[in-house]
């Protein structure tokens, strides 16, 4: 459980995050959604102290994060970067085993864990274990990045536009494998994206941000069907039909037609 209370962060004169509070429940998948510059990445990075807030407090599982050594805190939080952030001088195995190694796991346990994750993420271990990141495709690299974040069984996973740098086809395939990971069921996940489709696909709850402030937070349905204002309404407008179709389920034809009518009316 992550509790964020009245967080503010200013860069120069610009308020990147402005008095934001929210809670992420145990095992919940929360998505920060917004345009670039809305403060979503800054907010994410404050959870594992890559950035420290100017004011406000963050608690994880009942402990204030500033009361722990930042290194210890981070080892308990998985982190996935948009541009992979893989260590170019480490093999795939070494990359995935980064945190376990820092935690001093024994070699057998590490190797087994690496093998297990590679299997789950469709990276045949025999083939890729000793490869270097530059020998892999972008999609494969991102799979390694996800495996690295999960390696030491962190209860919390932070993901910064994890599929943002991939082409649409690769993105769909990596996202599919990611969603099917059994390990994610019990994890608290905070994901940052500007991709509305992705947010709706992955989120239990969406936090819509603009100019460092929360515009609206709620389930995807709440945001879609009960927008809290013009900004929220307009944000989904372009893709409303698709999104609504997705929410309803493509087999419920009457509902689909109603949604389409609804969409068409609003277009005019």
């Amino acid at each position: 459980m992550i509790v964020v209370k009245n967080i503010t962060k200013t860069f120069g004169t610009r308020k990147a995050v402005d008095n934001v509070s929210f809670t992420v429940g145990e095992g919940e998948n929360i998505v920060f959604l917004g345009t670039s510059g809305c403060g979503k990445t800054t907010l994410l990075k404050m959870i594992n102290r890559l950035i420290d807030p100017d004011s406000g407090e963050i608690w994880i599982n009942g402990h204030r994060i500033v009361d722990q050594r930042p290194e210890d805190l981070r080892k308990k939080i998985g982190y996935v970067f948009q541009n992979t952030g893989l260590f170019p001088h480490y093999t795939i195995e070494e990359n995935i085993a980064t945190v376990p190694r820092l935690l001093g796991w024994d070699k057998k346990k590490m190797a087994a864990r690496v093998g297990q994750l590679m299997e789950k993420l469709n990276l045949p271990p025999d083939h890729y274990r000793s490869a270097y990141p530059h020998e892999l495709s972008g999609g494969q690299q991102q799979r390694v990045g996800i495996a690295r974040a999960l390696a030491a069984y962190p209860p919390v996973l932070l993901m910064d536009e994890p599929f943002g740098a991939l082409d649409p086809i690769t993105r769909a395939s990596v996202r599919k494998d990611f969603k099917e990971l059994d390990e994610l069921r019990s994890k608290t996940i905070v994901l940052v994206t500007h991709d509305v489709q992705e947010a709706f696909e992955l989120a239990d709850r969406i936090v819509l941000l603009d100019k460092g402030k929360i515009v609206q937070q709620g389930t995807p349905d709440e945001l879609l069907f009960e927008p809290a204002g013009d900004y929220a309404r307009n944000f989904f407008e372009d893709q409303r039909f698709q999104l609504e179709a997705g929410r309803i389920g493509a087999t419920d034809y009457p509902a689909l037609i109603r949604a389409f009518d609804h969409f068409r009316k609003r277009q005019h």
């Binding site: 594992n48 290194e71 970067f81 541009n83 260590f87 001088h89």
Partner: protein, 524 residues
């Protein structure tokens, strides 16, 4: 001698010395490289984390590198004396910049995304440094170390000037002795050393990421290992220490003569004459090979040991001029000859003293001298032609050049262009023969032994006789090189062994034989 002996033969003959100097040179290079890396690398890392200090540190290291290497060595003498310590310090300061700068640039150049990932994975600052930053910056840092190594090999040749050994001993000895083979015997190994080390380090620089960690562990060991090569040779275990110039070391009327004629075996270091006097004055040396008219003899209260077995031939100075110049300007020779017989040993010593110790300018000194002799005439500013006067790189030659320049300007319509500070006998002489200069003051003994190289028997017959040496070199210069010796100026700037007056008196040493005798009884 040069023509009949090939470089290969020379190197074979001197292989022992060559090997020793090469090993010394490698040692000198790596011992200073070791210190450079030990200090430059942490400093480079430090300034990546304290950007405010970066400009200051890089600025200072940059300024250090702009100091000419000879000057840097010169600064070291008053602080650290002579020998390995100032040489290593100078090399270290010299190679600091590339190591600091490349460490700084290398670490700063690591992909910020990768750096952030290292933080996010929970690495401590030390883990980030050793597991990520240094490993990824390695190629850039290695490039800096390569540059530093090549600089060290090059500047290391200058170490011979301050008694720190290395391949410079051959190079500077060869320049002074007009011995091309000797120069090449030092210069070629030095160049090869630079190329080979650069190549080997480039292999390390381009090691793949996988083996880099192995290299990072082995490299310090290799550098430390090579540093241990640096052991200064001490030929004899005498208590007294002699400092001889590279030129003196290789001359028949130098160290070779001292050993064969006097049986003088003394612990010796090779040193430049520019710092030798100060070093003996400060007690770092006990015996030096000086020049008998040097002003510092007086300034530092040194005594000349009597050359009782006459191994040092006379060194009477006289202008040497190309014959075509004399024919073109017939008025020149009589003007230059106005100085003939005007300056005896004590006058020359006094003039040198004023320039070397009282820091008067050679020009002022020359003018005052001419005025006192009633020889001074204001410049006529004629435009008949230009005479290019050369001089070797020590004060006495500067003074003589200025005197001649003033005479030519005052008594003829010729203009004068001075090319002072030509490195040594070889450089001056080659410049004259190759029409780069028209005239320079040379010494009979030097001409005899460093340029003409007569057979040993012939030079023994000439031994010590002022006129026969003068006539011999005059005759041979005319027939071989088309060069004319004008009349001697008067003084005899001979080689001389010198000691501090107090020590010489205390040990009862007055002659070179005394010294040789003393050393025989005082072996450790």
């Amino acid at each position: 001698m040069d023509s009949s002996e090939s470089l290969w033969q020379f190197m074979q003959q001197q292989s022992g010395k060559l090997l020793q100097q090469t090993v010394q040179h490698i040692g000198l290079t790596f011992i200073s490289l070791l210190i450079t890396v030990l200090i430059g690398l942490p400093l480079g890392i430090y300034i990546t984390r304290h950007k405010a200090a970066a400009r200051l540190v890089l600025g200072i290291a940059g300024v250090l590198q702009t100091i000419p290497s000879i000057a840097l060595l010169g600064f070291m003498i008053p602080l650290l004396g002579i020998g390995p310590l100032p040489a290593i310090t100078a090399l270290f300061l010299y190679s600091l910049l590339p190591v600091i700068r490349n460490t700084f640039a290398g670490i700063n150049g690591v992909d910020p995304g990768v750096k952030e990932a290292a933080v996010a994975m929970g690495m401590t600052p030390a883990q980030r440094l050793f597991r990520v930053d240094l490993v990824l910056a390695f190629p850039v840092i290695m490039a800096g170390i390569r540059t530093a190594t090549v600089i060290n090999v090059g500047v290391g040749t200058l170490a011979a000037y301050i008694a720190a050994g290395g391949l410079g001993e051959f190079i500077f000895g060869g320049i002074a002795l007009n011995n091309t083979n000797m120069i090449l015997a030092g210069a070629i190994p030095a160049a090869l050393l630079a190329i080979v080390l650069d190549f080997l380090l480039s292999l390390l620089q381009h090691t793949g990421a996988a083996r880099r960690r192995v290299v990072l562990t082995l490299l310090p060991l290799i550098i430390v290992g090579l540093s241990s090569f640096y052991v200064l040779p001490m030929r004899f275990g005498s208590r007294l220490l002699a400092g001889f110039t590279p030129e003196f070391m290789g001359r028949r009327d130098g160290d070779i003569g001292l050993q064969s004629v006097y049986g003088l075996h003394i612990r010796t270091v090779v040193i430049s004459d520019a710092v030798m006097y100060k070093a003996i004055y400060k007690g770092k040396l006990d015996v030096i090979s000086g020049y008998s008219t040097d002003g510092r003899l007086k300034a530092y209260d040194l005594v000349v040991l009597d050359d009782d077995k006459k191994i040092f031939p006379p060194y009477y100075a006289a202008p040497v001029i190309r014959r075509d110049v004399m024919q073109r300007y017939p008025e020149l020779a009589p003007v230059l000859n106005k100085l003939a017989g005007q300056i005896n040993d004590s006058v020359m010593t006094a003039l040198n003293y004023r320039v070397e110790y009282l820091n008067q300018s050679p020009e002022q000194c020359a003018r005052e001298f001419l005025v006192s002799r009633g020889l001074y005439q204001p410049a006529r500013n004629g435009s008949k032609g230009i005479i290019r006067l050369g001089s070797k790189i020590f004060p006495e030659q500067y003074i003589l050049t200025d005197i001649y320049a003033s005479l030519i300007r005052g008594y003829t319509d010729l203009q004068v262009e001075s090319k002072t500070g030509l490195g040594g006998t070889k450089i001056c002489f080659e410049a004259l023969v190759n029409h780069q200069i028209d005239c320079y003051p040379e010494y009979t003994g030097t001409a005899l032994l460093a340029i003409l190289h007569p057979p040993a028997l012939e030079s023994q017959q000439l031994a010590g006789n002022r006129d026969s040496v003068y006539n011999y070199v005059r005759r041979h210069f005319e027939t071989i090189y088309d060069l004319e010796w004008l009349r001697p100026i008067g003084f005899n700037n001979a080689y001389a062994l010198m000691m501090r007056r107090a020590e010489a008196q205390q040990l009862g040493i007055h002659t070179i034989s005394d010294l040789a005798g003393y050393l025989k009884t005082d072996k450790r």
